[in-house]
């Protein structure tokens, strides 16, 4: 008879969930997305990579409250660094992944969703069919990445009451 959204929310969890690194920062994604369908439905959000990589003012006096100083530092301290300390990702970012402006946002949205279910009961027989579909999109501005996922879930069963 009915079917729900649990798979859809699960797809979001798997595809777009990013866990913070052990230091508690999201290094590459720019946003630590939470995974509840209700939180993410049709929403765009993200946090600045530059903000994540803001230099530690205790070790870099020039990076204090002066935004211009921070902007100057971002191209060198963006995605591949953490408070001036090199992260493993930076070894690769010196090539094609080199950030150009040190900032970016990640957005995620559900573009389409459809669900259908049918249950038939007749005497001792039981039949059930369900289908769920979710079209998801995620993108990031720097590096420019677009990800489209069309999750499909279908199930059918026939039962006999013994």
């Amino acid at each position: 008879m009915g079917l729900g959204c649990f798979l859809n929310s699960a797809v979001l969890t798997d595809v777009f969930g990013r866990k913070p690194n052990p230091a508690g920062h999201v290094v590459a994604a720019g946003s630590n997305h939470r995974h509840k369908l209700g939180d993410r439905f049709g929403c765009d959000s993200g946090s600045s990579l530059g903000a994540l990589a803001t230099p530690d003012s205790s070790t870099d006096p020039a990076a204090g409250p002066n935004p211009e100083a921070q902007d100057r530092d971002l191209p060198h301290r963006g995605m591949g660094s953490n408070n001036g300390r090199e992260l493993p990702y930076s070894k690769h970012s010196k090539h094609s992944l080199e950030p150009r402006d040190g900032s970016g946002t990640t957005d995620i949205s559900i573009n389409r969703a459809a669900m259908f279910g049918l249950t038939i009961q007749k005497s001792r027989w039981y039949g059930d069919f369900s289908f769920e579909y979710a079209g998801l999109h995620g993108s990031h501005s720097n590096p420019r990445v677009h990800l489209n996922v069309n999750g499909q879930f279908a199930g059918g069963l026939v039962g006999y009451d013994v």
Partner: protein
């Protein structure tokens, strides 16, 4: 006793900078066997518990699910469903001598609107 199938498809495409778009269409279809318990506990309420398992290496290596539902038929031809489901599957794929294994457990609530006829 129940028997059936489950299909899970996750086609995706990725565009990275100016590189060509990357397409893949991974999917699995699993045969399932299981047990279902269905009982009308009140005039308007029916409980349903469904346990299924399968895969057997046909699609997934393992595919196990458990779903509990409560149907509330508040009118002659209409009802609401509330439930909770858990599904676990394990998929492995070997390419170029390397085995890629996915072991995933998903869970969450279910809500439905029913039309009785």
């Amino acid at each position: 006793m129940t028997g059936g199938f489950r299909y899970l498809g996750l086609p995706y495409n990725i565009t990275f900078e100016n590189f060509p778009t990357f397409h893949r269409r991974p999917s699995v279809t699993d045969p399932l066997v299981g047990l279902m318990w269905n009982r009308q506990v009140a005039k308007k309420w029916t409980l349903n518990l469904n346990l299924q398992g399968g895969g057997f290496g046909v699609g997934s290596d393992e595919d196990v699910s458990a779903v509990g539902k409560a149907d509330w038929q508040f009118a002659k031809h209409f009802g609401l469903m509330f439930g909770y489901g858990v599904i676990h599957f394990q998929i492995s794929d070997t390419k170029l001598g390397k085995t890629f294994k996915v072991s995933q457990t998903l869970n969450g609530p279910q809500f439905g609107f029913g039309i009785y006829f």
